[in-house]
Amino acid sequence: MKIITGNDLATGAVVWWTGTEWSPHVDDAADTHDAAPIIAAEEAARRVNGAYAIDASQTPEGIRPAHIKDRVRALGGPTVRLDLSLKPADPAAANWVL
């Protein structure tokens, strides 16, 4: 699948395109094959910065970006500070990245 990610313009937070809006959770990402017009429109509307499309796969655990860099982004924080991530209560959250 193809999904779109970027950073919120004002806060810089990592966000994922759901089909209608932006979510901080990668599992909300929508399979989107024509990314260019969405990226152009959303950047023009100043809702996102530096958006780009990536490959991902649907797994039993949820959506998994193909590249480790995007999995680190999807974690919402560094693997070495899970308290800052989107999964602060999951001590094994970093394993999902690898």
Partner: protein, 548 residues
């Protein structure tokens, strides 16, 4: 310490106002990202993996207590409660919101700080010796000269759009503690046979994807030509540096391709011309700057003896303090490398504590080191125990300066959009492995440096042991390098062979250090043994099929 005059303050305040307006226009849509990006980068604001990152300049690594305190307050007020001290003697915040950036710059300006020229193809923060003004082995305090270079290079209209970024280092000690020859320009202040003080210019060093050690191009430039000669070096680079290829744009490539001799010839020609132009600031300005760096009022008659009955304190004194030029004083290094921690990170509370400790014990002054630690330059020996107790209580008393657990590590793939692999988890595993049974102490001085990509922010080329993280078909892989050094005996580390996974690299270092322990001669450091034996036996041990 240098204190801003009206010009300095007006320049910084004006920049804050400009950036506030630019940010407003970006957020209301008047400015596109394409137009805004170079503006935010000129103010140190990057977009990284998780958020905006702000890099704040710490000129030649020197901070007052008030400045350090504000750095802690910014971490609490605008970030997530911590900051990251970098290998360029700066500090970075990882969770900045764009809307807050102008307010942060305004807070910084109130304590004579900024983030100007911490990004972009310009002259970056001037780096220097963290022991400047405190060590006995320097011929003069290099900071007035670093400050003069800072003023000359700030907003220098000719050098704001260089072919690539440009880093200058100034030292004045026999021992190079600042990786001077791995800078675009490395300046060592020296004394000639006539007893006059001048500058030795080393030009064309650097790390990155093409590491090079800067050759000496002029052994003695009189101090009153420091700026003019620097300008000549930059002009030749600005004229001929490659702007068509980012990877060949650094001055090291120009010096290498022209040859040091031809580059020097052109610099000397330009220097002769510039001497007719009256560029050099009057010596009175240098004298004015130097008054800010006068020695603090050192007490006399202080005891040199230290009560070392507490073994943990004794180890910290032995490891983390250095000889001071004034009797009764010591230079103390606060390690930001707790075992299993994140190299260079400090919490807001720790930063404010260091501000208080610098005020109470070090004439209100501290230094950021390129090895991502903090130095209190002027501590009375009789105060060391009280200082250590306060550091111990705050998790800041790790006694590991320059051992294998005092690891330089870039933020790596945990934070950085350029990185290919994570650096921090590898640093943590190595530190934990070698802290066990105090093996780190047994190994002695062993500088280990990790970069998460070829850009080498973690200085892996200069590590006695270096680690380079690469992307191998989508997975993290780590190359091992041996034999680098950034000191007086500068050398570039060599790759051992095929890379390793995260556990494998720790095992490989284990094997390399075991060989060192088995083969070392008396008083030999790891680096010395490597240089004596060469790569072959280390390679054989590292890639051996036999169990370790």
């Amino acid at each position: 310490m240098y204190a801003y005059d009206n010009y300095d303050q007006a320049m910084v305040d004006a920049r804050v106002a400009e950036f506030r307006d630019q940010t407003r226009r970006r957020l209301d849509g008047s400015l596109s990202e394409e137009k805004f990006r170079p503006l935010r980068l000129q103010n140190g604001l990057y977009l990284q993996l998780h958020a905006y990152m702000l890099r704040v300049a710490v000129p030649y690594g020197t901070l007052s207590g008030a400045q350090m305190r504000v750095l802690g307050d910014i971490a609490d007020k605008y970030d997530r409660g911590y900051g990251h001290f970098t290998t360029r003697q700066n500090i970075q915040y990882n969770w900045i919101q764009l809307k807050d950036a102008p307010d942060i710059l305004a807070d910084l300006a109130k304590v004579e700080m900024h983030a100007i020229q911490t990004s972009g193809n310009c002259i970056r923060n001037i780096s220097s010796d963290q022991y400047a003004g405190a060590t006995a082995d320097e011929i003069i305090d290099p900071r007035p000269y670093a400050e003069l270079l800072r003023q000359w290079s700030s907003f220098h209209p000719e050098f704001l759009h260089l072919p690539r970024k440009f880093k200058i280092c100034v030292i004045a000690a026999e021992t190079d503690r600042a990786a001077m020859r791995l800078h675009d320009i490395g300046i060592r202040i020296v004394r000639n046979d006539a007893g006059e003080i001048g500058c030795a210019f080393y030009v064309g060093g650097g790390m990155g994807r093409t590491p090079m050690i800067a050759p000496l191009i002029n052994a003695f430039v009189p101090l009153d030509h420091l700026i003019t000669y620097s300008e000549a070096c930059l002009r030749v680079y600005n004229r001929h540096g490659r702007r068509d290829n980012k990877y060949k744009a650094r001055i090291k490539i120009l010096v290498h391709e022209l040859g040091a001799e031809e580059y020097t010839r052109q610099v000397e020609e330009e220097f002769a011309h510039l001497q007719t132009q009256g560029l050099e600031p009057p010596l009175a300005e240098l004298a004015r700057i130097a008054t800010h760096f006068a020695d603090p009022a050192f007490e006399t008659g202080l005891p040199d003896e230290i009560d070392l009955t507490n073994p943990q304190f004794a180890k910290w004194v032995k490891t983390n303090t250095a000889t001071h030029k004034a009797p009764g004083y010591a230079i103390a290094t606060i390690s930001l490398k707790p075992i299993g921690g994140i190299p260079g990170d400090a919490s807001a509370d720790q930063i404010r504590l260091m501000a208080d400790l610098s005020r109470d014990y070090s004439f209100d002054e501290s230094r950021v080191t390129h090895a991502q630690n903090i130095v209190l330059p002027h501590v009375r020996k009789q105060d060391l125990y009280a200082l250590w107790q306060k550091l111990e209580a705050a998790g800041l008393a790790t006694a590991n300066l320059d051992d294998i657990t005092d690891i330089i590590a870039c933020p790596g793939l945990d934070y950085c959009s350029l990185a290919n692999a994570r650096s921090i988890p590898v640093a943590q595993k190595i530190a934990e492995r070698f802290a066990a049974n105090d093996r780190a102490t047994l190994l002695g001085e062993l500088k280990l440096k990790i970069s998460g990509c070829i850009n080498a922010c973690g200085h892996h080329h200069a590590g006695h042991i270096g680690i380079l993280g690469v992307d191998r078909k989508g997975t993290e892989n780590y190359q091992l390098l041996l034999g680098g050094s950034e000191g007086a005996d500068t050398s570039l580390a060599q790759i051992t062979g095929p890379g390793f996974d995260e556990d494998g690299i720790v095992e490989a270092i284990d094997r390399a250090t075991n060989l060192y322990l088995a083969e070392r001669a008396p008083d030999e450091r790891f680096l010395d043994t490597y240089r004596r034996l060469g790569m072959a036996p280390f390679k054989a041990a590292i890639y051996s099929k036999e169990p370790a």
